[in-house]
Symmetry: C2
Subunit: 470 residues, 2 copies
């Protein structure tokens, strides 16, 4: 493909993308294909000769699109979203074109310095502690692992890095509602999942600080070394908020690393009315949130902040001959700030998004999203056959179908059926969780291009499908 052929096909692809977004509402949100259906349509062998781009685009339409769950469909209310936006898309196009390896400053100075500046912007926009140092990780899974490894090395004074675990018995604490990425990180870090202590939660599903303190003291008595506490702001199941200031107090008392995971909800700290949640952040050791969840920035983009930059770097630093550069020590070489050596120029899409929306544009979209959930909450409360399972926090509602004429023992099965019907309808995609052992439905209103008509539509679908069950 020559440059001019690329220009032509690039224009075709931009049109393909614009058309995709123009017609996305006609597509079923959740793919209806069966296992193996797509696989069997792709030839078993690669072509020996070059194929025309028109053929590839045609196959994209006929073979791939039917197998996609459309994460950018306005009625995608499942999990947490992986938000894209048009300026973010344009930023990613430029990143792909520059295709720079941003491992060290020397290999792409602008990428390193724009990343540093964007992290300052985010701190300012969200009123995060000025003393924090920011870096972009790919995902919250990676950021969580980076946090636990830093905690591990901080606790062992970097001796595990050097000599391995030895006979240390570390313990990590999080609530029973915490995201599975903590479990995974504890495994990877060699701490062992049986040393991840799941702390009880209160009636709001937030961490019970008294139980945390008891657990820590008991562990110390039994010869364990507390290594880290992970607080969550906005749990995946129900958006529960752990009491960060109180947890911070306990961590300070016992000298334990405190990581705060605000993967989804952190974007909301753009709104002054939610910044009270950042109380206690001054003594937090590490913190992350994902602009790719609710700040309209393409996956992957996880903003990670630490108080002690030197500890972070010492945890990951390596310096082989072929990576020595003259600028070392004067600049940020971000390959030492995380797991991967190779890094994409992710700061660029953040820059595009923040400038294209403006801070006030981001804020008003988020406030609109919260208003959507508020409206659905009202509908649920007004409907005798539905109930809110936990109080709404921001733009997520957790509810269940509970018709009075049915034995409550059947509610789990009923809600599973309802969820299945909604998702099979193609009109919306929601997911479930369990609260106090009950099967319940979660609905997030956070899609970049979500409008009132879509919100009204999803409520209509929920009610209609519930009426069809009985």
């Amino acid at each position: 493909m020559t440059i001019e052929e690329f220009r032509k096909h690039g224009h075709e692809t931009v049109d393909w993308i614009a058309d995709y977004y123009s017609t996305i509402e006609k597509l079923p949100v959740k793919s209806r294909v069966q296992p193996g259906e797509i696989f069997s349509q792709i030839p078993d062998s690669p072509p020996d000769k070059a194929e025309a781009y028109s053929t590839i685009l045609e196959d994209l339409n006929t073979k791939i699109i039917p197998g996609m769950t459309h994460w950018q469909h306005p009625n995608f209310h499942a999990y947490f979203p992986g938000n894209s936006s048009f300026p973010s898309l344009l930023g990613e196009m430029v990143t792909s074109a520059l295709a720079a390896q941003c491992m060290v400053w020397d290999t792409s100075p602008a990428a390193a310095e724009l990343e540093e500046k964007m992290m300052l912007w985010l701190k300012q926009m969200m009123n995060l502690p000025k003393s924090w140092h920011g870096v972009i990780q790919d995902t919250a899974s990676t950021g969580t692992l980076v946090a636990l490894l830093s905690a591990r090395e901080n606790t062992s004074r970097h001796d595990i890095n050097l000599n391995g675990f030895g006979e240390r018995k570390f313990r990590v604490y999080c609530s029973s509602q915490t995201h599975s990425s903590i479990d995974k990180a504890v495994k990877i870090a060699g701490i062992g999942i049986s040393n991840l202590v799941k702390i009880d939660t209160d009636q709001n599903l937030a961490m019970d600080v008294k139980h945390l303190k008891q657990s820590i003291m008991k562990d110390i008595d039994q010869g364990f070394t507390p290594c880290a506490v992970v607080s969550t702001l906005g749990t995946t199941g129900t958006m529960a908020m752990d009491p960060v200031p109180e947890i911070a107090e306990v961590c300070r008392e016992f000298g334990i690393w405190h990581h705060v995971d605000a993967a989804y909800v952190g974007s909301a700290f753009l709104l002054p009315e939610y910044q009270h949640y950042t109380k206690g952040f001054e003594t937090v050791d590490s913190y992350l949130f994902n602009p790719h969840k609710w700040m309209f920035t393409n996956f992957d983009c996880s903003a990670y902040f630490v108080r002690d930059r030197d500890c972070l770097i010492k945890t990951f630093e390596i310096l082989p001959e072929y990576l020595k550069t003259r600028s070392r020590g004067k600049v940020n070489d971000y390959r030492d700030w995380g797991i991967q050596l190779g890094r994409r120029f992710r700061a660029l899409k953040l820059w595009f998004v923040i400038r294209d929306f403006g801070v006030s544009g981001l804020q008003s979209k988020m406030r609109q999203h919260i208003g959507f959930s508020e409206w659905i909450e009202d509908k649920i409360n007004d409907h005798s056959d539905f109930e809110m399972v936990v109080p709404r926090i921001m733009n997520m509602v957790v509810f269940r179908y509970c018709p009075g004429n049915i034995d409550p023992d059947h509610y789990d099965k009923l809600n599973e059926q309802l969820l299945d019907r909604i998702n099979q309808s193609g009109s919306a995609y929601l997911t479930h969780t369990k609260v106090s052992g009950n099967y319940v439905i979660r609905l997030v209103t956070a899609q970049t291009y979500l409008e009132w008509k879509h919100v009204e539509n999803v409520w209509k679908v929920i009610v209609e499908e519930s009426e069809k069950i009985l």
Copy 2:
């Protein structure tokens, strides 16, 4: 930004990209900016109001581009390349537009199934063992870590995942020429860098298998448990090739996990004339190579293969309520095949690249690249003031400037000066390594759009700059 505004700006951005590639040769390959120069040009605060896209694009040109090192410049011969290509770029555009989270099959069936098929294509194209299972990781750093974690769990029968390290003393082996990502992975996995045994190399800088075996036996005697051996095909410094079949034999004898890192050179196994390097792969436990290095596929895209899929999955599996899906067990849920839960739809760009080039198109480009290095090797051998430091392997030459009238004690300084002059000239970008303690220059001819004129140019620059030193 509305859809129609996106369409307009998308076309502008495609033109920007095409123009960038049309004029890239006029830009200095390595950025000439000083630390802080870009940072100071970006406002300290984010804009409150939305900005026009034309302003953003203008700032891209005036503020970012001067600070970029142009990895896609044909005369980028540094490190290993991070190759892009036009079909790959188009694939990335579509991936960004779909913006699907490919964590489990349910959230994007087509992504999971295309990934499975692409891994089959790669196995077929490169004559890799049919029994292997493939998955796309982001980088070789991640793939290496995944391999060592799998080895760790395999050795401990998944007890470390569960209970932590305990008193185990594991050892990992690699040659002294191995990439720093192994050091990093050994630290992260909790094994400790003092337990990474660097095996001597022979005159070709390949692992000395006799020394490997001695080290393993000595460690066993001293109470250590050998956990993994990492072989490298194509070391970063000099493209040295470890003797995989002999190492595989040792690993089999002692029951040790054998990981093969062919991050750069693996792409060359597309060429039947290099497939003899895959001898011994049948008993290899894990293997990776990066299509983003020399297979014209945008970073990030690392192809990772394992023999024992169950061990891989058992190492990373987690199953919280909100991630339970009906299809589980019938499909590949790739979030259990690596570290991150969130995953981009990376298979798409591979599909675009392989189809647009065709296998024969990929092969002929690679053969051309090897021919370029062959030509430079001849030039070096024909020039009395230069010498090849190690025999050329494929498309990398490692050489130094060694004028007869200068005391060899000054060669290190001289080559450092020469490299600096070449890179400062803006005409080419090369990097260095050390061989037997000597400072030497590496030159890779692997850029997607590298042509004869660029190859002649880099040799001209090398000679001219060398003549200016004295």
